[in-house]
Symmetry: C2
Subunit: 376 residues, 2 copies
């Protein structure tokens, strides 16, 4: 089977690119620092195996469903890096009971106490990190906040919890515009996490782990001093947002959406694909970046970006391709029934529209289909 035989729209994953992307980050992480890839983008055991290079795997997940998927395939060392709703604790406890070393995070002392007491009453124990906020991005407590030692206190040496240390995510790094600010974001992340750990240490709490992570900072950190593990996810796939950050050339983007031409509007210069908003997502992550790719960059069937060809509109099942560059739309070359591929603004959002990958490796041969574990 080749890309020409696949039903469209379809999500295509280039295994060779994935392998190179995985290696590039792995090789950057110093010995003694653990890489704990985040599977929120990939949601696939097959991708996880490549990301861990066949070695025992430390994984990060964004849903309990991802954790259950990885655990059902033998992964036991998993961090669920989204604040847990207390109602999810029984389900998380089931994983621990089944042999998974599942770690949670907390940025609230009461919630930390609830995790610990609920786990104890369920007869399990969770490792729990204090979630630290280094850049006012989203969740977490600041390194100097009064709540931080109270979280450690609620977790340390309890029957239902082990205090793991601190965990942070420099989410604001996605908004950086140059290498210097990326390096600064990485150092801010490292220094903030280490400061939080040192503060807890002085307050008498052993802090075995200092976990940092985002793909931009992992690739730009000049020091990992004091850091015990790095989490990152989108580096496995890359996308147009990350390319705009200078993290990868378009050629490294490992996922794309395959679409078939279902219409031509020649007077308007439009090709219409059967890959619309439901296949691409409506994520407009590049809208405020240096280069706005609208709803995605068009490539040929073999994967070469066609300069200036973008998906300009995305209705539910219609994606409209227009040329904004020097190469006009070639209607004779792309008749109805012909195929193109689309590089995504945001790999996580676009991939989530699909329940499997069609796997290729450099050419158009489809080597495998790998399921994706969407939802919750």
């Amino acid at each position: 089977m080749t890309l020409d035989d696949l039903p469209t729209p379809a999500l295509v994953l280039d295994r060779g690119k994935l392998q190179r992307n995985a290696r590039r980050l792995s090789e950057r992480i110093p010995r003694g620092v653990r890489l704990r890839p985040h599977f929120k983008t990939a949601k696939s055991i097959e991708v996880a195996r490549i990301a861990s290079h066949g070695r025992p795997m430390a994984a990060t997940v964004s849903t309990l469903k991802e954790a259950e998927h990885l655990h059902s395939h033998g992964v036991t060392d998993i961090t669920y890096a989204v604040g847990v709703a207390p109602q999810k604790l029984p389900r998380a406890a089931d994983l621990v009971r089944a042999g998974c070393d599942l770690k949670l995070i907390a940025d609230d002392a009461e919630v930390a106490a609830t995790i610990s007491s609920t786990a104890a009453s369920l007869g399990v124990a969770f490792g729990v990190y204090a979630e630290v906020d280094v850049d006012r991005h989203r969740a977490g407590v600041t390194p100097l906040c009064e709540t931080l030692p109270r979280i450690a206190e609620a977790l340390a040496d309890r029957p239902g919890s082990r205090f793991m240390g601190v965990l942070t995510h420099a989410g604001e790094s996605y908004g950086c515009t140059d290498e210097e600010s990326l390096r600064a974001a990485a150092e801010e992340e490292r220094a903030g996490a280490v400061a939080a750990a040192e503060r807890l240490g002085k307050a008498g709490f052993t802090c075995p782990e200092v976990s940092v992570g985002s793909s931009p900072t992992a690739l730009h950190a000049e020091s990992f001093n004091g850091v015990t593990e790095v989490r990152a996810g989108v580096y496995l796939m890359w996308d147009l947002v990350q390319s705009n950050l200078g993290l990868c050339p378009l050629e490294d983007i490992a996922v794309s959406v395959l679409g078939t031409v279902i219409g031509q509007q020649r007077d308007r210069g439009w090709l219409i694909l059967d890959a619309g908003g439901h296949a691409l997502s409506k994520d407009r992550g590049t809208a405020a970046q240096a280069k706005d790719y609208l709803f995605g960059q068009v490539t040929s069937l073999s994967g070469e970006p066609i300069p200036g060809w973008l998906v300009s509109k995305a209705n539910q099942e219609h994606g409209i391709v227009e040329s904004f560059g020097a190469t006009p739309i070639d209607f004779n070359r792309y008749p109805i029934g012909s195929r193109l591929r689309i590089l995504p603004n945001h790999a996580c959002a676009t991939s989530a529209c699909h329940d499997r990958y069609a796997v290729v490796d450099g050419d158009q041969q489809v080597l495998a289909k790998w399921p994706r574990i969407n939802g919750w």
Copy 2:
């Protein structure tokens, strides 16, 4: 089970609102004009049964998967209202062979001929409409275009096709800002479709069907003269985009996303929900409208909109709730573990993030779970 027992995030559908929305449009369509609801939003046989009020059903779909789902539940009269990729014809033919009266659309004479000849070679026949463009929205040929009679010619009286007539969709009506322009869009849609049919009639092609449709125009048309059927879909659910168009009050929106508070950032006035971009979609359909709801309007667990409370940021698994109105975020009333609901910008996009509905009827009792048929 109540909404408090559901795992979150979850898609909630209020059956009473759905029933009232269905009735409102049905009652507006004159006798003798067929309503052919579009199931691209609902993707559910249960919703289809409500939309057809228990009577024999004429359905519109946006994917063959929706068609297969409806047909497996006994629906036989189905129009696939997206230009068909020629590669999908064998799968479409399987439906016909299984007893489904599946109708296709074409806006290109060569494609029309391909449909007809492929169907004949597969031993089936499709009904096929010529897709007409009345407002330069997307696909279709203009009523006076030379291609229109050539499409009819390629389809009429062939072993593989029956020429059904014309079909159009006034997609630009979604951009209207007042009732007058909505009425004008409806009349433009009707008049364009009727003109196309009359032109074909004069050229000697019998045009049994004149199919128009969009929820805004269906609710604003002052005349259905010459129209044989109306297609509409989002009217079953409504959403914030449609509310901004004046088509429904917020109280009529039948779908919402249930989320659990997983964090509080009190100094910034943020609640953090476990319903982020993957549960809400990144559709920003209200961005350019009179009222921008950001990533969605927050309601209480019982469904009452809380004025000014919006989802201001949507990361993958984090939705940030902020107050932009007179009622500040009440952190004591909404501790971690408490729940809120979110009305969607765009019901189609948000619903597509979920593989089932949790069905309620006015209160918080969960009466049923209805599967949704996402994907292709």
